[in-house]
């Protein structure tokens, strides 16, 4: 986004016009390009807008396929059904709780490790980097992980979600790169002033790193907010499931109903509009913060790609 600068940033577009007048062919290309990119925008946005329109539409209108971008036969019954469903709100609350706890754990562990890795002349640093990076290419696999979490007795607790994914190596490398870019003189001065390593980290480094800390909190919280499989695996009880699992159950239930045949067409349709409403309500928080946060993601990804 804003970080992806176009080339003419440092040099005005002068050379393009003087050396090479845009030819007719290039102008045609620009037109075609515009059409293609408009197509991309439409294809990406349409499914969303359609779901939103469906969620406000009446059953009959959805079934006849009249709903496109605008609700037809405005109807809030489904919203009322979902909003009055205690399970939905409980799972929403669970999602918030899991996200907060897991993000906190992840931030503490990632910050500590990234800070140590940023000390270029620390003995054993190469080994510590290797320990982390190796796990990007090889992992234990689903079954050993499942057996491990089960035998650690983490099932049905928030730790089953928070602990197994406490450090994302990608985030770790982004944070390490940021710490490495801080001026060392500040830390040396703080050391001379008698601060311990912990003191330096907490009172000097972290206050200077608000940008990267905020970005990392964002990365982790969005990924924990969106995750479903951990909870699906390890949460047996309905009252513990996050909203993603709730949504998944509704989708799975709906396919079951549509498999059952045409006799329950009415039932399928209700399920479809419930799906639409749940999709809208579940993605709402992400959609609300999206315009404000996406540029941090983009710059974070590029930082990781360049320096990782």
């Amino acid at each position: 986004m804003s970080t992806v600068k176009t080339r003419p940033a440092k040099r005005p577009a002068k050379p393009r016009t003087s050396v090479n007048q845009p030819t007719r062919g290039y102008r045609v290309f620009q037109g075609v390009n515009g059409v293609i990119l408009t197509g991309v925008v439409v294809l990406t946005l349409y499914p969303f807008l359609n779901i939103v329109a469906r969620s406000f539409s009446g059953e009959r209108e959805i079934r006849s396929g009249e709903v496109t971008l605008w609700p037809k036969g405005f109807d809030l019954t489904t919203y009322r059904i979902v909003i009055n469903d205690g399970t939905f709100w409980r799972s929403y609350g669970n999602t918030v709780f899991y996200t907060v706890v897991a993000t906190a754990v992840a931030m503490i562990l990632t910050t500590c490790y990234a800070y140590v890795l940023s000390k270029k002349d620390l003995k054993g640093r190469g080994f510590l980097v290797g320990v982390a990076v190796f796990t990007m290419f090889f992992s234990g696999g689903l079954i050993p992980n499942y057996v491990l979490v089960t035998s650690l007795d983490l099932k049905n607790s928030v730790w089953a979600i928070a602990l197994p994914n406490a450090i994302s190596v990608f985030n770790l490398l982004v944070m390490k790169a940021f710490f490495e870019s801080l001026p060392r003189e500040l830390e040396e001065a703080a050391e001379i002033d008698g601060l311990s390593t912990y003191g330096i980290l907490l009172r000097v480094v972290l206050p200077l790193s608000k940008a990267v800390v905020a970005t990392m909190i964002l990365f982790y919280s969005v990924s924990f907010w969106n995750s479903w499989f951990q909870a699906f695996l390890y949460m047996d009880r309905t009252d513990l499931m996050p909203v993603t699992v709730y949504l998944r159950n509704i989708i799975a239930g709906a396919t079951g109903a549509s498999n059952a045949g045409a006799t329950t067409e009415q039932g399928t349709q209700v399920a479809a509009s419930i799906q639409a409403v749940t999709i809208v309500l579940t993605s709402l928080p992400i959609l609300c913060v999206y315009p404000f946060v996406q540029r941090y993601f983009v710059s974070g990804v590029m930082l990781g790609a360049v320096k990782g």
């Binding site: 062919g25 991309v40 925008v41 396929g65 689903l142 057996v147 969106n226 479809a272």
Partner: protein
Amino acid sequence: MSTSTTSAPPPGTQDPPPTKTTGGAKRPSARRSWRRALRRDWQLYSLVILPLLFFLVFRYLPMVGNVIAFRRFEPGGSILGEQWVGLRYVRMFLSDPTFWQVFRNTLWLGLLTLVFCFPIPIVLALLLNEVRRTALKRFVQSVSYLPHFLSIVIVAGITMQMLATDGPVNHVLGWFGHDPIRFIQEPEWFRTVYVGSEIWQTAGWGTILYLAALTTIDDDLYEAARIDGANRWQQIWHVTLPGIRPTMITLLILNIGTFMAVGFEKILLLYNPLTYPTADVVSTYLYRAGVESNSFSYAAAIGLFEAVIGLVLITSANQLSRRTVGTSLW
């Protein structure tokens, strides 16, 4: 920081693991310098204890835990299994017809994903790069990233809604006088559905790295090309594409490495028994065998097989690209 004043360790001594007493440090000087490093930087080392414990328990222990593929595991027993059974479980899945079916499906889906999902971000990035109006460019980018931020469950839900018999896609087909297609229930449609939703979800996000790479290409190269009389296409062919080649190759190697691990979560959400013939892949099969049917050792053997293939693929892709084009991940 604290270490800068004292002599830095010579480059060769960085390798031994940071265990102070039993570590591999044979030479007394190396051991002494470890002792000194620990005394000087013990606070730093203390910060890595918890993260190291995390890697040990949740990343390396499961790797070791794969031995249950060769040992009989009993639920509630040791996570490393009860007794050696050799290659029994490996033989079991090699002679299992379902395994070969899911293996073929994995290769198919992996191949289709690679063929379609790898080049599209490159093309999209090149097209975006030709847009001169910044506002328009930003808008297109913001919109195309959007699906990446949604939970995979939401993506699956949207996919199913779009492709439902009364959904928009079938509605459009109706305009052309086509009968509705039950995309989600027909095995022959699964691959299209999967790859399509994968493109929808990942194409925009995939352009980020290419756009970043495009900004690093030196303007002088374009100018020189123009003075030499290159037109737009020739500039793209001779300047832009070589400029982003390292990024392309890196991402290609990574894609090949994850070839076998095709979108496990998405398939789990999108498939159903009707579409198993084309949708069931190695990872979903081992999920059902392991977690749903409790055959942990059998599933672990399949998982290990999958991981080894992945490792072989990524290593050989890396080697190949190092030999042929001189770019590699390590």
